[in-house]
Every structure is written in structure tokens, then in C-alpha cells.
């Protein structure tokens, strides 16, 4: 966990203008995996913004979760190219393997599944990201193998 003065430090490093907000939120997510209410309130205070506004920015981006998620976060692209190339099979594979649908976390807390918009891998669709690593040209079978890599 991050020390209590980290938001202050982050702001010192990254700035507290409106345009710095997303960067600071990303940094917090990098360290803590999600944005807790307390962190968002601290950010609001440091940026002199209303909590409702900071919460609005955080909830706008699927890469800025505001609820605690599993150890590993699977983000499956739901945009049109991946859709045509078999996104549904990817989601089915995850459902069959981990018994979770988008928005859910596996019972053991190891995986959370989200659907996100275009991740820039249209030429290698369908694609997903686990944590920060992209996986492309996916098939139903490939997904099983990839997930196994995270379950030693």
C-alpha cells in the first residue's frame, strides 16, 4: 500500500492542473490497482475540484477502476473489429474457464473481467489485455492457455 502522503507527492511531481488529473489517477491505480473513495477525496482536495467531478473523470475511463478488482484484470476489447473477429468466443472462453462475465471477479479473487473499447490492436483482432500485457489473434483455445499462465 502507498503511504498516506503519496497523493501529495504525486501532485508535486505531476502537477495539480485539470490536465494532470488523469495522470495522477493512473499513477494511483498503478500502485493500488483501484481508486478508493479516500484516494479520490484526497485527489479532489489537492486539485481543488469537487469530489463529484473527480469521480466523474475516474468512472469515465475503464482503465481507472473505482472498485477493488481481482489480482489480475482481463480487459477484452468490445469494439467493432474485435466484435466481428470473435470477441464473443473470447468472452465465452473466459466464462467457461473462470465462470465470470464482464464486471465480475472470480471467486478466488484472482481474475476480474472487463470489456473495454478499442485498444489499438484491430489488425490483430480479437485482442485482450491482462494487466498491462496485450494478447492478440485470440482463439477460444488460446485464451485457456493464456489464463493458465496466470494460474501456476
Amino acid at each position: 500500500m502507498v503511504e498516506s502522503n503519496t497523493v501529495k507527492d504525486l501532485v508535486k511531481k505531476k502537477g495539480n492542473k485539470r490536465e494532470d488529473l488523469v495522470t495522477v489517477l493512473q499513477e494511483i491505480v498503478k500502485h493500488e490497482k483501484f481508486l478508493s473513495e479516500d484516494r479520490l477525496l484526497e485527489v479532489a482536495r489537492e486539485f481543488d475540484l469537487a469530489p463529484a467531478e473527480v469521480y466523474g473523470v475516474a468512472t469515465f475511463y475503464s482503465f481507472l477502476p473505482v472498485k477493488p478488482l481481482g489480482e489480475n484484470i482481463i480487459k477484452v476489447c468490445q469494439t467493432i473489429v474485435c466484435g466481428i473477429k470473435g470477441k464473443d468466443a473470447i468472452l465465452k472462453a473466459i466464462k467457461d474457464k473462470l465462470n465470470i462475465v464482464p464486471g465480475q471477479t472470480s471467486e478466488d479473487g484472482k481474475f476480474s473481467l472487463l470489456t473495454v473499447n478499442c485498444i489499438g490492436q484491430c489488425d490483430n483482432a480479437p485482442a485482450m489485455i491482462i494487466n498491462d500485457k496485450p494478447y492478440v489473434n485470440l482463439t477460444y483455445e488460446k485464451v485457456f492457455k493464456i489464463i493458465d499462465e496466470y494460474q501456476p
Partner: protein, 914 residues
């Protein structure tokens, strides 16, 4: 295209910007308009229909609903008219097949995810989406797809949100951000999942929401509803009665929604001064007292066993008139005191003045203005010549800088607070707050000077000294329009920033920064209230404010001025029409023989020449036994006066007291006879607001039981005492006021029913006066008067080491006779809470929510503690509303020597944990 029409589209912009006109052609007709207006503004001002959902004239345009599209010649695509500033010669088409096709398409898209449950929706009949669907024939949608299942937020007493119905126009968010400054709600999520919610989707009660409900007023659909008024009536079943809000002195115009003789809703008319559609929580939700079952419905007499028993009107009038006449015969008329009321109409106050002077024969008439703005009168008369707010609420938008000193504006005068915040956010107004507490509006201030209570003169003189030393004063204005400057300036140098910092505890650099902002911003305005007036140096405080405004040349200009905010709906009017011991209506002195003769002729009675007693002096005379009787109309000195144990002693000492009120108040408990009066919603008349605006009060519902209009009660008693007053209705009383009162001479109901008017309004064609002293000061030249700092009458010492200050909170009003009857308001603020600085609390071993005892030399009060750093160290704040923890048991009755106003804002107190 030469069919030019005269347009009434006028831009709200600073007067110094000039008023360049352009001509815009809309659907082939030319319209003249001010430069800088949008196409939509010009169209609406000229009754040209353009559909819109996300536009509200109170908000900055956003252009998100895409319904106000128009074609502009020379532009390839349709443009949103709310965001497109009109240019000279522009040719606009609002009604082509192409535009109508686009609008219909957009409506179909909106309808595709909107519950079509108009038959049970509270907004049916006042829903902009429903109206547009009707107009464009959109009964359903071609777009089948997912629909939302969104939240219903029903977790507070006032604001109900059903996001299923929300069209995401963002008007509520912008209202909350741009006008109210509360930022309580925002957009969460993205795309299809977007929703408007408070941060973290928590209850609004945990946010900065002030429950003004202006979000509801701007919602174009049914997503936001006023919780207490839901499912009461369809909008077409109600009669809307336009009247004036009965709470503070802002004088908001409201429409009471009436069905089956009951109030079933409140709204504010758009575009009408002074509130332009905005209201606060009390004005919108605080009307339950009207139909409350604890109203007094019959005259009551205290019987021999001390209990009140019901009597008939005839007997009541007989008893009161015989008792008063008996006392007059035995002790003379000056043994009687009359308390009039800042809550009743001008007409009724005028009759109270006539009743005291002509029927009783005494000038012993006063009302609660003594306790709030007496020092405004005694401070502004010698400096300016008139004791009223110099400027108007509507010209705050011209201010470049404002000082708020001793006014918790957003809680005590919320709608003026909102207007100041709106201008901070949208017009770059710079705000300086001078207050011992971090009151809510400090969130929006450029600088907050946190002085010790009672050190305002030092701070103000310090600011003036810096302005003068740095040459930021307006020497032209001073030379042309004022006198006495040389002597005044000589005294300034004593108030060095160092000395001021030492006396007041404000930061030296902040003081300098505040002086720089105020000195360099033109025009700049000052707003103040009880924090200035309720001191033993209240008169001098006000004089210092007047001096500062003259020094910077801000008097008589739009966006400048000295603006005392009046606390009651009609405290300005009660003063104006003569409910004061030294003047008749229009501040005409009783001592002036010619004036007296005029009133003697009008009323057919010889009138007393000697000035009468004020409220605070009446209490003293009752104790000493010289005052034998009190006639009290709609006042509650048993909670509102300082040192109320002393007041109780005075009231007990009276031979006779009659109270005319709508509730059995703490004061009425002491009465011999109680006469049931009527509240604002049950009668006709006028109130005068804080900016001298005379506005109609119109009857909406019948009085309960046998209660009758207060002016009729006064007439009956006066008649029984041998001085008949023959008025057929309130309008005839106003006609007499205008005959006898130069500043009201041009006022009559016919004019007021069309438009409110600000006095001075000196003849029937006079347009009223929005800014005083604009050519010359009322007294000729403005007079600089030097003042000096002196500490409060009681300062902290070993035994009583803290300073107690008192004031209002948002959710209650005065002695709670009205707000105490409103469930929602009591839920938000059920009890008195003493605010204590966290450092003080920790040294006293007090934790948040502990019960504490506050003790002064007058008495003690038990209450709950709120511990935070919003209050200055060494200071305790207690609201004065609550009878179960009455702050005025504690307050010091020491008086300002000139204004006779008590020092509510500073006394020495001791605090301990219980």
C-alpha cells in the same frame, strides 16, 4: 427583408461595454439586437420558436441536446443556435424541412431510451420532452435497442432523482456547479452507462448539496422532482398564485401551486426579478407552516387559572381596547409600547404606526429592525443620507470585486449568495470574505480574512490605509462628491498592517492582498449583515464600510455600493412605512412640526411630538414599571432579544400584553390575550425587499379557523379605542401610504401588479431607483467620518475565556416559528449545535458530538458540539434559532450608544464538557 422589428433582446453585460446593435434576419424578418447575443437568445426574446432541452438562461450554454439547430446562410451545416453568436446581417432559418427532420430524429433517439410513462409522471404537463414530442408528432421510436435500468435516488427529504427519465442534458449539473457552487453532482460512467449522481453515488446529504432544488427547477423532464410535492397534483389542476417569499429579505418571487385550497407546490417564475427563477431550500420547501395544525385559529384569553381559553372576536376586541384605554387614562399613552413586525405587510406596518400614534397616542413603536439593522440607519444616514441598500441584486453582475463582511450570505440570504457565486464562476468576480468563520462561500473567495469577532473596524481601516498609502483611492470622486476627507485621511495612518494584524488576528499579507484587489477593481461592492451591525460599535462599523466605498469611488455606480442585506421578508418595508419610534413613513421625522401636521391632518388626530422607545428600551422600561402594556404583532422577543431571562422578567412585569400572531410563540405564552392573525399566503399586500423593491403579496389560501387579516384586526381595535380607520382593503392603505410618503409616492397596486418598483419612486410615471446616490448623495455630499477601533463591551477574561458569536443556519429561520413546522428542514437541522475550534476542543477535552455547557454572565445553555477548524480559535458559534438551547440566554444586552442595537455577535463565554 427590410421588415425590421424592434427587438427586446438585451444583453446582460457591464454598462461600460457600450451597447452596439446588430440586425439579424430570422425566417426573413429583421430583428435588432445587442451585439454578443446568441441566435437562440434573440429568437426567444422575439417569441420565435426554436426547440431546445439543454438551454436555460440561468446557465452557460452547452450545446449538447442538438435540438436548437438552425440553418445559417453561407454555412454548410446546421449550427446549434444556443452556441452561435449572432452577427450583423446574419440570415437564419429555423423552420425548414431539413431542420425539422433533424429535430425529429433527435427526439426519436431520446425517446428510444426514455420511459413513456407520462400518465404517472409528475412532470406531465410541464415536461419539455413531452411538449416537443407532441409538437413534432413523435409517439414512439424506430430505434430498438437496449434500454436503461438506472438508479432512483430517494435518500433525502427534498430532491428525488429518477435517472431512468434523465436525458443527460446536464442542466442540473451546471446549475449546481455554475450558480449554486455546491458541485454536489456530476456525470459518472461513459456512453450508454452515463448517469448523473453524487460523488461515489452516496446520499446527497453527505455532499455539499444545499437542497435549494434549483436542479429540479431546471430539469426539462421528470428526472428530478420536489420530494414533498410529488403525487399531490397534476400541474394543470393547480392555480399558480404569484407572491413574495416570506423568509429572508431577498424577496424572491414565488408561485404557490394551489389545489383544493391547499399549497401543493412552489416554483419560481423564470426571468422575474430579483431571483430569476432561483430559490433556496426554505423558499421552495418551507411552506408547511401555512397549513400547520398548530396555527392559532381563535382568539384566546388567559383565564383566572392562567390557562388560555377560546373567546369570540367581539370579546377579544373589547378586552384589548378597554385594557389599553384604561392604561392610557391612568398612566398616559407612553405607558404603552407597540411592537410591529418585519414579517407582515407594508400596509399592516403602516396601520400599526397609525394605531400607536393616533389611536394610542405614543411614538413607542418599533420592530425587530432595532435588533438587526438599526446601526445601518445610524451609520449610513450621516455618511450617505439614506440607510438602505444602495444597489440592486441585479447589478452584482457588473462587480469586479466584492467584499462580504459579517454576512453568511449563502445561508442567510441564499439567492444573493448564489448570484455572487455565479459571477465568481462565470464573470471573474473576485471575492474577499471577512469573517471569523469559514462560512460556505469562502470556498469561492480569493481571500478570506479571519478576524476576531468585533475587530471589523481595525480590518476595514487597515484596508483603507493600504489603499490610500498606495494611491488606489479615487481622488476625483472624493473631490467632487464628498466632504471631510482630509480629517478622515489623517486618522488612517494609525492603522498600519502590523497593528491591524495584532488587533484582529488577520494575516498581514492577506490584508494587503485584499486591499490591492478591492482598490484596483472597479466597480467593487460591499455586502454586509449582522456581523457588522450587531455590535456596540455597530454604527461605527457601518460608517467604516461607507468610508471604504467612498474612498474607492464606488458609490452610485452599477456593480458598486454599500449593500446591507436585510434579514426579514419585510424589514425594509416595516422601516419604510414608519414602524419606528422616531419617524413616520418614508423616514419623515416625528419631531418635524410640518411633517407632524401633515399626518395629523390625514389621520384627524393630534400626534405626539416626542420620540418613542425602541424595542430594547421598552424592555428596560417594563422592568422599571414605567411601561405597563405591550401590543405585539408577529414578533418573538422571548427568543430574539438578547439576555432573554431579563426579557421574561420584563414581560411578567407588564400589566397587560396582547399578542397578534399565527403561532403560540414563546412570547405569546406570556400574553393576556392572543389574536389569531394571518400568514403571507392568506392575505393581500406588499413587502419591500432588501434592495428597496416593493412587491405584491397575493392571497392564495384561506386563513385557518377564525383567523383574519392582521390589518383588519388593527382596524377593529383602533375603532374600539375611539380612532376608527375606514379602509375597505389593503390597496386603500397603500394609496394612503403613497399620498403621505414621498419615496413611495409613485407606488400603487396597478403598477405593482405589472412590475415591482424600487423606491425612491416619486410619482406615478417614475420608473423607480435601482441605484441610490447616482448623481449626488442623498444628503448632498458624501461625508467621510473617522472612526476608531474599540473592543466589544465584553471581552474574554480568566473566567469566561472564549468569545461567543451567534447567527443563522441555512435550514432554520429566526425563532423557528415557521421552519420548525417543516419536517424536511427539521430533519436537516434538528437542534442547536455549538461550533468549536478543534484546538480549543482538544484543550477542553471535548470531542465532536459531545454535549457541552456554554455559560456567560447572563445564563447557561446545554448543547451539542461540532468540532472542526472552520471556526477561528478562541471563538464559539451558536445559532440563535432553537428554543431548547436559546443562544439569547447567553448574549450581552449591551447597546450601541446611537443605534440602541444589542451586541449579539460578541460576548465572553466559558465552555465545558458535560
Amino acid at each position: 427583408m427590410n421588415n425590421k422589428k424592434v427587438s427586446n433582446a438585451v444583453k446582460n453585460k457591464p454598462a461600460d461595454k457600450g451597447d452596439e446593435k446588430i440586425t439579424v434576419f430570422i425566417n426573413g424578418l429583421g430583428y435588432a439586437a445587442d451585439k454578443g447575443l446568441t441566435i437562440l437568445e434573440i429568437a426567444l426574446a422575439n417569441d420565435i420558436f426554436i426547440p431546445h432541452l439543454c438551454y436555460d438562461p440561468r446557465l452557460r450554454p452547452q450545446g449538447s441536446c442538438r435540438l436548437c439547430l438552425v440553418e445559417v446562410e453561407g454555412r454548410p451545416e446546421a449550427v446549434p443556435s444556443c452556441l452561435t453568436v449572432a452577427e450583423d446581417g446574419m440570415k437564419v432559418t429555423t423552420d425548414s424541412d431539413h431542420i425539422n427532420h433533424l429535430v425529429k430524429l433527435n427526439l426519436e433517439l431520446l425517446i428510444s431510451d426514455h420511459p413513456l410513462d407520462c400518465m404517472t409522471c409528475d412532470s406531465a404537463g410541464s415536461c419539455a420532452l413531452q411538449d416537443l414530442a407532441y409538437r413534432y408528432g413523435v409517439a414512439g421510436t424506430r430505434f430498438k435497442g437496449d434500454t436503461h435500468e438506472k438508479k432512483v435516488l430517494d435518500d433525502n427529504p427534498f430532491i428525488f432523482r429518477d435517472n431512468e427519465k434523465c436525458i443527460l442534458c446536464g442542466r442540473c449539473v451546471r446549475m449546481c456547479d455554475e450558480v449554486i457552487g455546491a458541485n454536489a453532482i456530476g456525470y459518472a460512467g461513459r456512453g450508454f452507462e452515463s448517469e448523473i449522481v453524487p460523488a461515489f453515488e452516496q446520499s446527497l446529504k453527505n455532499t455539499d448539496c444545499v437542497f435549494c432544488g434549483n436542479c429540479i427547477s431546471t430539469c426539462p423532464v421528470g428526472a428530478l422532482q420536489p420530494r414533498p410535492y410529488m403525487k399531490k397534483a397534476r400541474i394543470w389542476q393547480v392555480e399558480k398564485v404569484r407572491t413574495t417569499c416570506p423568509y429572508c429579505g431577498v424577496g424572491c418571487q414565488i408561485d404557490l401551486h394551489v389545489m383544493d385550497k391547499k399549497i401543493v407546490g412552489v416554483s419560481a417564475p423564470e426571468g422575474v426579478e430579483p431571483n430569476f427563477g432561483n430559490l433556496c431550500v426554505k423558499g421552495r420547501f418551507g411552506m408547511d407552516f401555512v397549513g400547520s395544525n398548530s396555527r392559532i385559529t381563535h382568539p384566546l384569553l388567559r383565564n383566572s387559572s392562567g390557562k388560555f381559553e377560546r373567546i369570540g372576536w367581539e370579546k377579544a376586541i373589547d378586552i384589548v381596547s378597554e385594557k389599553l384605554n384604561g392604561i392610557i387614562n391612568k398612566h398616559g399613552p407612553d405607558a404603552i409600547g407597540v411592537l410591529s413586525s418585519a414579517k407582515v405587510t407594508n400596509e399592516e406596518n403602516f396601520l400599526m404606526s397609525r394605531f400607536a400614534r393616533a389611536a394610542v397616542g405614543t411614538n413607542n413603536i418599533d420592530h425587530c429592525a432595532r435588533l438587526c439593522h438599526a446601526s445601518t440607519i445610524t451609520g449610513l444616514i450621516p455618511t450617505f443620507g439614506s440607510g438602505a441598500m444602495t444597489n440592486s441584486i441585479g447589478d452584482i453582475k457588473y462587480s469586479k470585486a466584492s467584499i462580504i463582511i459579517g454576512s453568511n450570505t449563502t445561508e442567510a440570504h441564499p439567492v444573493i449568495g448564489y448570484e455572487i457565486i455565479r459571477n465568481i464562476i462565470s464573470n471573474g468576480l473576485k471575492l474577499i470574505v471577512i469573517d471569523p468563520r469559514s462560512i460556505p462561500i469562502t470556498k469561492h473567495a480569493a481571500i478570506h480574512l479571519r478576524q476576531k469577532p468585533g475587530t471589523d473596524i481595525a480590518v476595514l481601516m487597515g484596508i483603507m490605509n493600504i489603499i490610500y498609502q498606495r494611491g488606489l483611492h479615487d481622488s476625483t470622486f472624493i473631490a467632487e462628491k464628498t466632504e471631510g476627507f482630509k480629517d478622515f485621511a489623517a486618522g488612517l495612518s494609525r492603522f498600519t498592517p502590523e497593528r491591524v494584524a495584532e488587533i484582529s488576528g488577520v494575516d498581514r499579507e492577506d490584508l494587503i492582498a485584499a486591499a490591492e484587489i478591492f482598490g484596483r477593481s472597479k466597480p467593487a461592492s460591499i455586502f454586509y449583515a449582522m456581523g457588522i451591525t450587531q455590535h456596540t460599535c455597530g454604527t461605527d462599523n457601518v460608517i467604516a464600510i461607507a468610508d471604504l466605498s467612498m474612498l474607492t469611488g464606488n458609490v452610485g455606480k452599477p456593480g458598486g455600493g454599500v449593500n446591507p442585506l436585510r434579514g426579514q421578508n419585510n424589514v425594509q418595508g416595516a422601516c419604510d412605512v414608519g414602524a419606528l419610534p422616531n419617524v413616520y413613513s418614508g423616514y419623515q421625522y416625528v419631531k418635524d412640526a410640518d411633517i407632524r401636521k401633515k399626518f395629523e391632518q390625514a389621520w384627524g388626530k393630534e400626534l405626539p411630538a416626542r420620540e418613542g422607545l425602541g424595542v430594547t428600551d421598552m424592555i428596560e422600561k417594563a422592568i422599571s414599571g414605567e411601561l405597563k402594556a405591550l401590543y405585539v404583532l408577529g414578533e418573538n422577543p422571548m427568543l430574539s432579544d438578547p439576555d432573554i431571562l431579563h426579557v421574561a422578567e420584563a414581560l411578567k412585569n407588564l400589566e397587560f400584553m396582547a399578542v397578534q400572531d399565527i403561532f403560540l410563540t414563546e412570547t405569546a405564552e406570556f400574553a393576556d390575550v392572543i389574536l389569531p392573525g394571518t400568514c403571507f399566503a392568506e392575505k393581500n399586500g406588499t413587502f419591500t425587499n432588501t434592495e428597496r423593491r416593493i412587491q405584491m403579496v397575493n392571497k392564495a389560501v384561506d386563513p385557518p379557523g377564525e383567523a383574519i387579516e392582521d390589518w383588519k384586526i388593527i382596524c377593529s381595535i383602533s375603532g374600539a379605542m375611539g380612532h376608527p380607520m375606514g379602509y375597505a382593503n389593503a390597496e386603500e392603505i397603500m394609496d394612503e401610504i403613497s399620498r403621505l410618503t414621498p419615496i413611495y409616492e409613485g407606488i400603487n397596486y396597478k403598477r405593482l401588479s405589472e412590475k415591482s418598483l424600487q423606491w425612491p419612486c416619486t410619482d406615478s410615471s417614475h420608473p423607480g431607483t435601482s441605484i441610490l446616490h447616482s448623481k449626488n448623495f442623498t444628503r448632498g455630499k458624501g461625508a467621510f467620518i473617522p472612526v476608531d477601533y474599540r473592543p466589544p463591551a465584553e471581552v474574554p477574561d480568566k473566567d469566561y475565556p472564549y468569545t461567543l458569536t451567534t447567527g443563522r443556519i441555512l435550514y432554520q429561520f429566526h425563532t423557528r416559528t415557521m421552519t420548525g413546522k417543516v419536517d424536511g428542514l427539521n430533519q436537516m437541522a434538528p437542534m442547536a449545535i455549538a461550533h468549536i475550534n478543534k484546538d480549543d476542543a482538544s484543550s477542553l477535552g471535548i470531542a465532536d458530538s459531545d454535549m457541552v455547557m456554554l455559560e456567560t454572565r447572563r445564563g447557561s445553555v446545554k448543547t451539542k458540539a461540532l468540532v472542526n477548524s472552520k471556526i477561528k480559535k478562541g471563538t464559539i458559534f451558536l445559532p440563535f434559532h432553537f428554543a431548547d438551547a436559546p443562544a439569547n440566554i447567553l448574549t450581552n444586552p449591551a447597546l450601541d450608544p446611537v443605534a440602541r442595537i444589542p451586541e449579539y455577535k460578541a460576548c465572553a463565554v466559558r465552555v465545558s464538557k458535560i
